[in-house]
């Protein structure tokens, strides 16, 4: 059922679905059967090739146009139904959520980029748990498809986070790990195939609300940057957008950075690093978030799960490096940044 939507809708034979004079159908079968060929041809060309009168051709084009036309709505209708509001996935942290206007944007493709070790995978793991919370708690109430392209999926770290997460959030599912579907895909061709064929299958079978790509950079950086690979990268991004729109899911893609010499102010972000994959990928990203380490640290007491720490018992003082989450661009957020830390529990605000 889902296959009839999307790109196939405009290349398949639609003649039988139109409410038009059968004489037109007979003539059109000569070569104008798909929406793309009919609408792509000019009025005169159709008149000439099909040998029908202007009146019939106009009816034909009108019928095809109405058939293909997307739903007409207005900004007012969107505001009333709430469809036009951007959706978010909470990060479980008050400050970060407020900063981002509710959580990590779940519209289009949200990219998280930054230097290695800055905390991107940590945030992705946190999101994988938060996404499974019910909508009232700021999640999506659905599962997660996690695509790993670099190293092994950090199962141990996830288990550690799940333990704390369950204690903190009571409304979630019984088993968080059951709701995360992990794929390991190291090369770019398999990645594009997965997004094209396997993901739609998975999405139509299971309730999935979030797809994480960790990372989108590594399969493509290993290859040379020629036209063919750029097209493949564009296809990947384009297909992800189609999936997001068709299945109403959030897409989070993790990217790397590279140091740059010279003009690095292309995105209005000053600094000595720039996200990889160039303009081809940047044009496909809806929201770009940059994560990095700062020079400051905070001290906190490290507590173990739900065990009460008695005043007399020895506490471990741990120093955490303060990280920064910066909005590079987003259609509805201004450019700002917000600090956070990575602890044993996962991502936490800086008090």
């Amino acid at each position: 059922m889902m296959e009839s939507k999307g790109s196939h809708k405009w290349t398949k034979n639609i003649l039988n679905e139109l409410d038009i004079n059968p004489k037109i159908v007979v003539c059109a079968k000569k070569g104008y059967v798909s929406a793309s060929s009919i609408l792509g041809a000019s009025h005169n060309e159709l008149e000439e090739k099909l040998g029908l009168s202007s009146f019939h051709i106009k009816n034909f084009i009108d019928a095809v146009t109405s058939h293909v036309l997307p739903k007409k709505t207005s900004a007012w209708d969107l505001s009333q139904t709430g469809e036009g509001d951007p959706k978010h996935i909470t990060l479980g942290c008050q400050n970060l959520d407020n900063f981002l206007g509710g959580g990590v944007p779940a519209q289009g493709i949200t990219e998280m980029t930054g230097q290695s070790g800055s905390g991107k995978t940590q945030i992705a793991l946190q999101l994988s748990l938060c996404a499974q919370l019910p909508p009232v708690a700021g999640g999506l109430g659905k599962g997660v498809a996690y695509i790993c392209t670099e190293s092994q999926f950090p199962t141990a770290r996830l288990q550690q986070m799940v333990k704390h997460f369950k204690a903190q959030h009571s409304k979630g599912p019984a088993s968080y790990t059951d709701g995360i579907f992990v794929h390991h895909i190291p090369d770019m061709d398999s990645l594009v195939d997965c997004v094209r064929y396997q993901l739609p299958c998975l999405l139509s079978q299971r309730p999935i609300g979030l797809v994480v790509l960790d990372s989108v950079a590594s399969p493509f950086r290993a290859e040379e940057s020629n036209m063919e690979n750029k097209n493949l990268l564009y296809t990947l991004g384009y297909q992800l957008h189609q999936l997001a729109a068709t299945y109403h899911i959030a897409i989070v893609a993790i990217n790397q950075v590279t140091s740059v010499i010279g003009n690095n102010n292309l995105y209005g972000h000053s600094g000595n690093v720039v996200p990889t994959l160039g303009l081809t990928w940047a044009n496909l990203v809806t929201t770009r978030l940059m994560i990095g380490r700062t020079d400051s640290h905070v001290q906190a007491e490290q507590t173990e799960g739900s065990r009460q720490v008695k005043k007399s018992s020895s506490k471990t003082i741990v120093e955490y490096n303060v990280r920064e989450l910066e909005v590079i661009f987003c259609p509805w957020l201004g450019k700002k940044s917000c600090p956070f830390v990575v602890t044993s529990k996962g991502i936490e605000d800086v008090e």
């Binding site: 405009w10 009146f55 084009i61 900004a75 209005g268 259609p331």
Partner: protein, 399 residues
């Protein structure tokens, strides 16, 4: 005038039948010179409405129409197909076609340059609420033209589109266009919240500058939101369908004055099954975009991605995507970029002013000037005309 000749004409052919014959046939029929017959024909053709013979109907139908004395579009105008069928002996289907053709055919008379100039300079423009940008554009985003806004991701192309959707609805009594907008969204970056913020600021601004009360009181956040018609297009065929549907949409909403396509390049850059199909569809889209601009006096605003153009020696420049197939289509090309922390708009193609640039910023309420008054040097911009138009929006209208 032709006395005896006329008598002959009446005897041999009714004056109306003259219309279908060419001069030579008439001359042969009446045994007179071509000049005489030309004069007779000119006199006979004095009726209002176009000639049916010039409508392009098949000759078999024309013969039947003429034998029943239908020669001009006025003759058939108010008839029903069944009546026409009875009178002429044509089938019902053919009559429908005749009536449709007769009602459609009109012969536009040539318009002289002065008329075009006068009409053009009277058209209001869509202000951007940023004086520098409006000056750069010669008053604002022009109607009856296609404006392309290109730039890196995140520089503010969608913000310009949203601002235009609000600005086009500014009431006429304060110098605005007073029209509605159609937003064709291909990337999903349309946010209702941003539109609402911009609308709220615009309403507040109009409230402070006054204008005709009835006109201005209708300008509310709700009316602005209702005046933005939204289509979410998942592929290029849907984009094409929306653009082709504009004439029909105009019948329901005749006051549409802005068509926004955000963006034209998103659906055209990925792997098409057939590369020729893509080029053809793109050419069709460019052609179809010109129609609303010219016929319905709309402003068409299109956003475009940037791409790297690698030249022979290894140096690369950033250029708008889609190449020359698309490049010749827009009348105005605006490129947005960053200069340090400030956004810059540069005009790279404009019929009326030389290439120059302007600083602007994106605030909660939309596009605004940057706080300090330093602007990049502008060369040869029309300073006079845009000031007049701009003044309308900033002061109350006391004409």
């Amino acid at each position: 005038m032709f006395g005896s000749l006329k008598g002959e004409v009446v005897r041999k052919a009714t004056p109306m039948r003259i219309h279908l014959t060419c001069v030579r046939d008439l001359a042969w029929c009446l045994w007179r010179s071509i000049d005489t017959c030309e004069a007779v024909m000119t006199e006979a053709v004095g009726t209002s409405g176009g000639l049916l013979s010039e409508c392009g109907l098949p000759s078999s139908q024309m013969m039947k129409l003429l034998s029943a004395d239908f020669t001009t579009t006025d003759d058939v105008k108010d008839m029903k197909p069944s009546e026409l069928s009875q009178a002429t002996g044509l089938s019902l289907k053919e009559c429908v076609e005749v009536l449709r053709t007769a009602s459609n055919s009109h012969h536009p008379s040539p318009v002289d340059m002065l008329q075009i100039y006068q009409e053009g300079s009277e058209l209001p423009q869509i202000v951007t609420f940023c004086k520098a940008l409006d000056t750069l554009l010669g008053g604002g985003i022009p109607l009856q033209a296609i404006t392309e806004v290109s730039g890196m991701p995140g520089v503010g192309k969608t913000q310009v589109c949203l601002q235009a959707c609000v600005s086009v609805q500014l009431p006429k009594s304060v110098g605005g266009v007073g029209g509605e907008a159609v937003y064709v969204d291909t990337e999903g970056s349309f946010t209702v919240k941003r539109l609402k913020d911009m609308a709220s600021c615009a309403v507040h601004h109009v409230g402070t500058i006054g204008g005709v009360a009835e006109d201005v009181s209708g300008f509310t956040i709700e009316s602005i939101m209702k005046g933005v018609h939204y289509f979410r297009c998942q592929n290029c065929v849907e984009v094409l369908a929306v653009v082709k549907n504009i004439p029909k949409l105009m019948l329901v909403h005749p006051n549409i004055r802005l068509l926004v396509l955000d963006s034209v390049s998103f659906h055209f850059r990925h792997d098409f099954p057939d590369a020729r199909d893509r080029a053809k569809l793109l050419r069709t889209v460019t052609k179809e975009l010109i129609q609303p601009a010219v016929t319905h006096k709309m402003a068409v605003l299109v956003t475009n991605h940037m791409t790297t153009n690698v030249k022979e020696k290894g140096s690369a420049t950033l250029v708008p995507a889609l190449g020359e197939t698309w490049g010749h289509c827009p009348t105005l090309r605006l490129n947005l970029s960053w200069c340090g922390p400030t956004r810059v708009a540069a005009l790279t193609k404009a019929p009326h002013c030389q290439n120059s640039s302007a600083y602007f910023q994106v605030s909660i309420g939309g596009l605004r000037d940057v706080s300090d008054n330093t602007q990049p040097s502008t060369a040869g911009n029309l300073q006079h005309e845009p000031l007049n138009k701009k003044r309308k929006i900033m002061e109350s209208n006391d004409r």
